[in-house]
């Protein structure tokens, strides 16, 4: 299958290892990955902060980026919230400004855009991706994956098939970590209180690694764990699934 990667602006600029892992994983599974070069950002931050007029050009840019460039069967992003934005906000923003044609083009792209665990389990039909990751891992199911995309336990199905890994259940897993985009700045004290509880639960598992399907949530949780000098690392789901027994530098 020809899969277009929507790397997301955050992974492109700050967490490239999450996007490169997605490419390596999909190529290992025998698929061709293409990268529509015009892509930038889905505009979620703008929509969620109230700047829909500023989001409109980003929606248009995203649609044009995925319409132009190499052809593709399905698109994937290693982020529940960015896929949530493409799926649930792009057409809404276009319609708010009366651009019905952009809305339907956005809907067409959204209908073929998947979050990584959705793509693997629902579209490609694999739960065992042949990964090897000899660590104790706990998994935080991010809010937008869980409640906007309804990915349910797909990430856990994938993780349970990883060889060498001990998966430890995270207490109060479905509670928000307190990131919430600009919420983390606008309501920084409340955000920090939520993070403190999330970190307490992560540390209570004794895991070495806290994983999730969203770099943004991991940036929040990881930022807190780093400040605590806890020694617990945050690793994106894609990186775990891309790891294999083969020694040597990937890519």
């Amino acid at each position: 299958m020809r899969i277009a990667l929507f790397a997301t602006c955050l992974a492109d600029a700050l967490f490239p290892e999450c996007a490169t892992a997605t490419v390596r994983l999909l190529e290992r599974l025998g698929h061709e990955v293409v990268f529509p070069p015009k892509q930038t950002c889905c505009g979620q931050m703008h929509v969620n902060t109230g700047y829909q007029a500023e989001a409109l050009p980003l929606v248009r840019h995203h649609v044009e980026a995925f319409e132009s460039g190499p052809s593709w069967d399905v698109a994937v992003a290693p982020s529940g919230s960015c896929v949530g934005s493409v799926r649930h906000q792009h057409a809404m923003v276009a319609r708010r400004y009366g651009d019905e044609s952009l809305a339907s083009r956005a809907e067409e792209i959204a209908s073929r855009t998947y979050e990584l665990s959705e793509l693997l389990v629902d579209v490609l039909g694999v739960t065992d991706v042949g990964a090897y990751y000899p660590h104790r891992v706990t998994y935080h199911p991010t809010c937008h994956s869980l409640r906007m995309l309804r990915v349910a336990d797909k990430p856990l199905q994938l993780l349970r098939a990883v060889r060498g890994m001990t998966l430890i259940e995270l207490p109060a897993a479905e509670s928000c970590c307190g990131f919430g985009g600009t919420f983390a700045l606008k309501n920084s004290e409340t955000s920090t209180a939520m993070l403190a509880d999330k970190m307490g639960n992560v540390l209570s598992t004794g895991a070495e690694v806290c994983s999730a399907g969203d770099s943004s949530c991991l940036m929040h949780i990881g930022g807190g764990l780093s400040r605590l000098r806890s020694g617990v690392r945050t690793v994106h789901l894609a990186e775990i699934l891309a790891s294999t027994e083969k020694i040597g530098s990937p890519a």
Binding site: A11, S175, T190
Partner: protein
């Protein structure tokens, strides 16, 4: 559609639905109260888990939620005609209907009705509408004592405190604190009383019995009003409501205009949705319904005051109006991670939590970004737990995003603030892959901030709001875009 109800076009809601400071400022204070956070965390966790179990027992829960949502949408679509029908049926059965545009008018009507009875004391059934209008304070200013008979409301009243939860107004208090409040404010209480819940409940019961038997007037709210029969319904747990609704000679009910249901059989849907969502019970212990006046049985004088107080404004917004579907179960409060940490008082309104964050600013309207209620739509991470818990499927995250956009758009004519400039700059950069790639390259100088560990621990304002408690990773040596160009260049066409 038209939503003209015979009142002027814009009637902003007033009363206890706007705080004095923004949510972040108010939350800062409650976050510092470790006892409050412990009380709230324990209580919401308990009730959250109980609700999940109670809901799981119902096979057709999703169908019920959709039925409740559809019924409420129907009510909103034809509210004017249903209100008129309701008024006709209440009047035909011997009740009197009064219309109140806002909190002040509602308080004046109720106070005049109590005055006309010659009584200087009323017993009260727990009611959000009277909390909203500040009726107790108004009655007190006019020499009439209003006695709350719901146990938690009584705790709040005796403690000269404010409610912090729709269903459990004293959720922020533990039993040791309640004992202190009773000892200080309850006349004739045993000075050796313990903080055993039963002992505290019995003391409140003895105190309230005296009031039930002496009061000539009761004031209630209503959970539902039935348009086709003029029936009112109150759903409660303690039985205090039933005492108030049956013993006094005069009963005055203050009801928000959105509380209507079209027909009596519609109650079957809500009577299944409400108890499981609010108290996690299969059925609430007391459901009282009354229709008009019956000689020799119950109150002989019965009044309904229909309260607008900004509700027609909410109705006029086709996205925001579903906030009026709310049946005040408080399930969204109990699952909200922001409410759990910040507490109900941080919302400034008698409607806290996720529903308050969308309802209060719509009821009052907002006067600009300095309006405390303008901060409420931002008091959420949009995690979506509230929508999943809502028994009538109010899309709270969707309405929050909508209200944020309305807020930003309403301020566009003024000078742009820091956030406006940041969002415009980010939009400009992200609007072109070339500009984005250029900024990515420049941002790599941030690697020096990260030092050897690649961890940024301190940044200037406003990024300091992040680094106060969280590190930030330093930008990587190579962006994804660069990696792709290096490894896949020949395949990018």
């Amino acid at each position: 559609m038209t939503t003209f109800l015979g009142t002027p076009t814009f009637q902003a809601g007033a009363g206890n639905i706007r705080g004095t400071e923004s949510f972040p400022d108010a939350a800062r204070k409650s976050l510092a109260d470790t006892q409050l956070r412990a009380n709230l965390g324990a209580a919401t966790t308990t009730i959250r888990n109980k609700r999940i179990a109670a809901v799981a027992e119902v096979d057709d829960w999703e169908d019920l939620r959709r039925a409740g949502s559809a019924l409420k949408a129907d009510v909103m679509a034809r509210l004017p005609e249903l209100l008129v029908q309701f008024e006709e049926n209440v009047t035909a059965r011997g009740g009197a209907v009064h219309w109140a545009r806002d909190a002040e008018e509602a308080n004046r009507v109720v106070t005049d009705l109590v005055r006309a009875t010659g009584s200087d004391e009323v017993v009260k059934v727990k009611s959000m509408a009277t909390q909203e209008t500040g009726l107790n304070e108004h009655l007190e200013e006019n020499g009439i004592a209003a006695i709350e008979t719901d146990l938690a409301e009584l705790i709040v009243q005796l403690g000269e405190d404010k409610p912090s939860h729709i269903l459990v107004p004293a959720i922020h208090r533990n039993r040791a604190e309640i004992r202190e409040i009773f000892l200080k404010a309850m006349p004739g209480i045993d000075p050796d009383i313990t903080d055993d819940p039963r002992a505290l409940a019995m003391a409140a019961r003895a105190h309230l019995r005296r009031k039930f038997l002496s009061a000539k007037v009761a004031v209630s709210g209503a959970n539902f009003g039935v348009a086709e029969t003029g029936t009112l319904a109150v759903v409660e747990s303690e039985g205090n409501g039933r005492m108030c609704l049956t013993l006094p000679d005069t009963l005055i009910t203050l009801m928000g205009i959105e509380k209507l249901v079209p027909s009596f059989t519609d109650l079957e849907v809500f009577m299944q949705l409400l108890p499981r969502s609010s108290t996690a019970e299969r059925m609430n212990p007391y459901t009282s319904m009354w229709t008009g006046v019956h000689p020799g049985d119950g109150p002989q004088n019965f009044h309904v005051v229909l309260l607008d107080n900004g509700r027609t404004n909410v109705l006029a917004d086709d996205v925001g109006r579903s906030a009026l579907h709310c049946i005040r179960c408080s399930a969204c409060l109990n699952v909200c991670p922001v409410y759990e940490r910040a507490g109900g008082h941080a919302y400034g309104s008698v409607y806290p939590g996720p529903i308050g964050a969308i309802l209060s600013p719509q009821l009052t309207g907002t006067t600009g970004h300095d309006d405390p209620n303008a901060s409420l739509p931002y008091a959420s991470t949009l995690c979506g737990a509230c929508f999943d818990a809502c028994p009538v499927r109010i899309d709270i995250p969707g309405i929050l995003v909508h209200l944020r956009a309305e807020q930003v758009d309403s301020e566009r004519r003024g000078l742009p603030g820091g956030q406006d400039l940041a969002m415009k700059a980010a939009g400009f950069v992200m609007g072109s892959e070339k500009r984005f790639a250029a900024v990515e390259t420049v941002s790599k100088v941030g690697r020096v901030l990260g030092g050897k560990k690649g961890r940024i621990t301190s940044l200037p304002y406003p990024a300091s709001k992040w680094t106060a408690s969280r590190d930030l990773p330093a930008p990587p040596k190579e962006t994804f875009r660069q990696w792709w160009a290096r490894t896949h260049e020949d395949t990018t066409r």
